[in-house]
């Protein structure tokens, strides 16, 4: 502690930071809003689906629970998935992240 240990990332810290940002932008005066970090994840999931990504690749990328239908090996990352991923992320970046 004396040496100035860094503060580890914790769930509560991450949530409180983003909560603060959203409050600062939109609802400074309104009541406290319950915010969940999973909201980002679901946003990403729906974007991938709407931009035409297959369910199989989505399930790989998001680490969904393995069931009988989508049976694949996790350790292997195929080139097809990388190509598909790059195509879609480029679109998402154009939508959200190129704010200039």
């Amino acid at each position: 502690m004396k040496n100035g240990l860094p503060f580890e990332i914790k769930l509560s810290l991450v949530e409180s930071i983003f909560e603060f940002i959203i409050k600062d932008i939109y609802s400074q005066d309104s009541k406290a809003v319950e915010f969940d970090c999973y909201a980002f994840r679901h946003r990403c999931h729906s974007d991938f689906y709407l931009l035409g990504c297959e369910e199989r690749t989505i399930n790989y990328l998001f680490g969904h629970y393995k069931n009988q239908i989508y049976d694949f090996t996790y350790a292997f990352l195929s080139d097809e998935i990388i190509q598909k991923y790059n195509q879609i992320t480029n679109k998402i970046i154009k939508d959200y992240l190129l704010y200039e």
Binding site: L5, P6, I9, F20, I25, R41, H42, Q68
Partner: protein, 678 residues
């Protein structure tokens, strides 16, 4: 145990024959649908041809020989049967067959059970057969149990199956413990082994709930017999209810009364043409229904017309009549407000969009009226529900909860014809379905009205009993064969059958994607019904251009962030305002790093969809320096997986590695001044 090989019950043979045909058909490498049709066809053929042999009293070998000779050139050849016969004997030897007529019935079942517990290798598949009818067996057990005292039970037995092709019961005895466990236990302690041994009547108590309906059936049959007997012989003893277990075997050709009894049972079974609750309407039946409805096309009766439309809507949308009868038209005057005002209470039909808009049950959101009548509403009585919705309402509009069902073109044609019919008769109403009421027209459905045309219909098909559920299940059964996925079927019907297979809990799916799949499948099915043939390669040309790019359904969309929030969060993080976040304020040297960490986490959320706890676990060594990939350790059930990274994100994460290694393994950490001061 002795195994009887001389006498093979005919029903076993039948079962095995059908199974064998299924296997052979699978090897032909044909499509699923074709296989399905052939299977049904062959099953029917076999059943028809075996009918004369069913009641004959000859030994089975003679029966088989006769059967082969008569049907030599029809649909199989002799070799197949011979191998099959051998195979049946094999199976018969594997399983332990027990007759109820045996005197030592109790002991034999006890032996089987003890052998199972000991991990005996002679009993294969943990199963044995009981060679009587179901009802009789059930009644026998009930009597046995009533005689003996009940002991404390541990349920060892789990599965029991009743085969529908035969009167034989397959009781499959399984232990909760696997055989290997038991063998270990036996080697260690021999005392425990005794506890597993118990008499058959005790064990069978577990089956009573399964057996009860059969007992009722049997009692009814016996009562009917007693009535007839009383008339003839004036018997009064109720003890005649008790079954002599050798009743069937003692039947001879001379006893005419017994034969009559047997025929009576058989006739009872055959002459009850009713659809079971879990059964599905076959293509033949659907074709007949379609022909019947085609005749009704030009009828002037309102009820018949609406019944016709409702049947097709139920069939292709898998919706209940209560849902369908509450459908309203979109009012053209308030077209802009249509989604916000009316949809709280009614599903709305828009013919121009070819969509039914509705509000899914799971996305119930209270309206302003509900808030006014807070005390009456059951959902809002809970404080938690009330508070959460109170907080969320300013963020999300009511329009976010609306979902749509796309309507295939042939259904829309039917709806338009129905509308024209209504206009011709000067009927104006905001509801889609209208029936004749006592005082004018109503939208509310009378069950009696729905039943009357139904009776006419199903009398032609020789079906007495009929339920809505049969129609629902036809949708489930056939739509798979015509290429509709489970997820799409769920989106239309809003009824999930296997929740594990639906991975869309938190997504919104556009109507266009859904409509393309659903239109094709439904059109194929419709063609199959019309032509009375399952497989039809005809692919109709369908324009789904009219359907807008609005979401078909939003699963938990109240938790998915809107895109505009994402945009503004990124702009916020890049601006100078980000330095004023109180959680980030630290030493001037580390302030930039902290913002970089927050940015990188945000990008991991948006571009890779990682869970928050996965981000906290990330380590330095998991980021590969050669390729833009990252190793992620998910839940305990899942394996670790490699994830591709976008170049932008990869460079961000690499720049974080340049800082000092104060906490060597952690990829993400933030420097806080408060912690440093302690």
């Amino acid at each position: 145990m002795k195994i009887q090989t001389d006498y093979i019950p005919f029903s076993i043979f039948l079962n095995e024959l059908i199974r064998q045909t299924e296997k052979n058909l699978k090897t032909l490498n044909k499509s699923k649908v074709e296989w399905f049709t052939k299977k049904i066809f062959i099953e029917k053929q076999i059943l028809e041809k075996l009918a004369p042999f069913k009641n004959s009293k000859e030994p089975t070998e003679n029966k088989l020989a006769k059967f082969f000779d008569t049907n030599k050139d029809t649909f199989f050849y002799k070799k197949h049967y011979l191998t099959l016969h051998q195979r049946i004997i094999q199976i018969y030897n594997q399983k332990n067959v027990i007759n109820i007529s045996d005197e030592n019935f109790d002991e034999k079942i006890g032996q089987v059970f003890t052998a199972l517990n000991a991990g005996c290798s002679t009993i294969i598949n943990n199963s044995f057969l009981i060679d009587t009818s179901v009802e009789k067996f059930a009644y026998f057990i009930k009597n046995k149990i009533s005689q003996k005292k009940k002991n404390s039970l541990n349920p060892y037995i789990e599965i029991s199956t009743v085969d529908r092709y035969s009167s034989i019961v397959y009781f499959v005895w399984t232990n909760k413990y696997s055989l290997s466990d038991i063998s270990k236990r036996d080697s260690s302690t021999k005392k425990e082994q005794k506890t597993y041994i118990r008499s058959a009547s005790d064990l069978i108590e577990d089956y009573l709930p399964v057996i009860d309906p059969y007992i009722k059936k049997y009692n009814q049959n016996v009562r009917d017999d007693i009535k007839t007997d009383k008339e003839d012989h004036n018997k009064t003893d109720n003890e005649s209810l008790d079954i002599d277990t050798d009743q069937e075997t003692d039947i001879t050709d001379d006893d005419e009364s017994n034969l009559e009894k047997k025929n009576h049972y058989l006739s009872l079974k055959d002459n009850i043409p009713s659809i079971d609750r879990y059964e599905v309407l076959k293509i033949n039946q659907l074709h007949k229904l379609h022909q019947y409805f085609n005749k009704l096309k030009n009828s002037t009766d309102l009820d018949q017309q609406s019944f016709r439309l409702m049947f097709y809507m139920m069939l292709f949308l898998r919706r209940s009549p209560t849902f369908l009868s509450s459908i309203k038209y979109v009012s053209q005057t308030n077209s802009n407000k249509k989604l916000k005002t009316d949809i709280d209470n009614y599903p709305l039909l828009d013919i121009d969009d070819q969509v039914i808009y509705y509000k899914p049950k799971h996305l119930f959101s209270p309206t302003i009226r509900d808030y006014e009548n807070k005390e009456k509403n059951e959902y809002l009585k809970n404080k938690e529900n009330f508070e959460t919705w109170n907080d969320l309402l300013p963020f999300y509009n009511n329009a976010h909860f609306i979902a749509g069902i796309p309507l295939p073109p042939f259904l829309i044609e039917m709806i338009k014809k129905y509308d024209n019919f209504k206009k011709y008769n000067n009927i104006d109403s905001s509801y889609l379905f209208i029936w004749k009421g006592q005082d004018g027209f109503t939208n509310q459905l009378d069950n009696s009205k729905f039943n009357d045309p139904q009776k006419q219909l199903f009398s032609e098909l020789n079906i007495e009993r009929y339920l809505y559920e049969n129609i629902y299940r036809t949708f489930d059964a056939y739509m798979k064969y015509f290429g509709l996925g489970l997820v799409d079927a769920y989106l239309i019907s809003e009824r999930h059958r296997i929740p594990h297979e639906i991975c869309i809990r938190y997504t919104s799916i556009s109507l266009k994607i859904l409509a393309n799949n659903y239109f094709l499948a439904s059109q194929r099915w419709f063609n199959a019904i019309r032509s009375n043939y399952l497989l039809s390669d005809y692919q109709p040309h369908i324009d789904s251009t009219i359907i807008k790019n609005m979401p078909a359904i939003r699963m938990g969309s109240w938790r998915a962030l809107e895109p505009r929030y994402c945009k503004e969060i990124t702009s916020y993080l890049s601006s100078s305002r980000a330095l004023e976040i109180p959680m980030i304020q630290t030493k001037p040297g580390y302030q930039n790093r902290n913002i970089k960490v927050v940015k990188a986490i945000f990008h991991l959320f948006i571009l890779n969809g990682l869970r928050p706890f996965e981000i906290t676990r990330l380590q330095r060594s998991w980021l590969s320096l050669e390729k833009p990939t990252l190793l992620v350790n998910g839940k305990a059930e899942e394996n670790a997986r490699l994830i591709p990274l976008h170049d932008l994100l990869y460079n961000e994460l690499k720049s974080l590695l340049k800082f000092k290694k104060e906490k060597p393994n952690q990829l993400f950490w933030m420097y806080d001044e408060k912690w440093a001061a302690i």
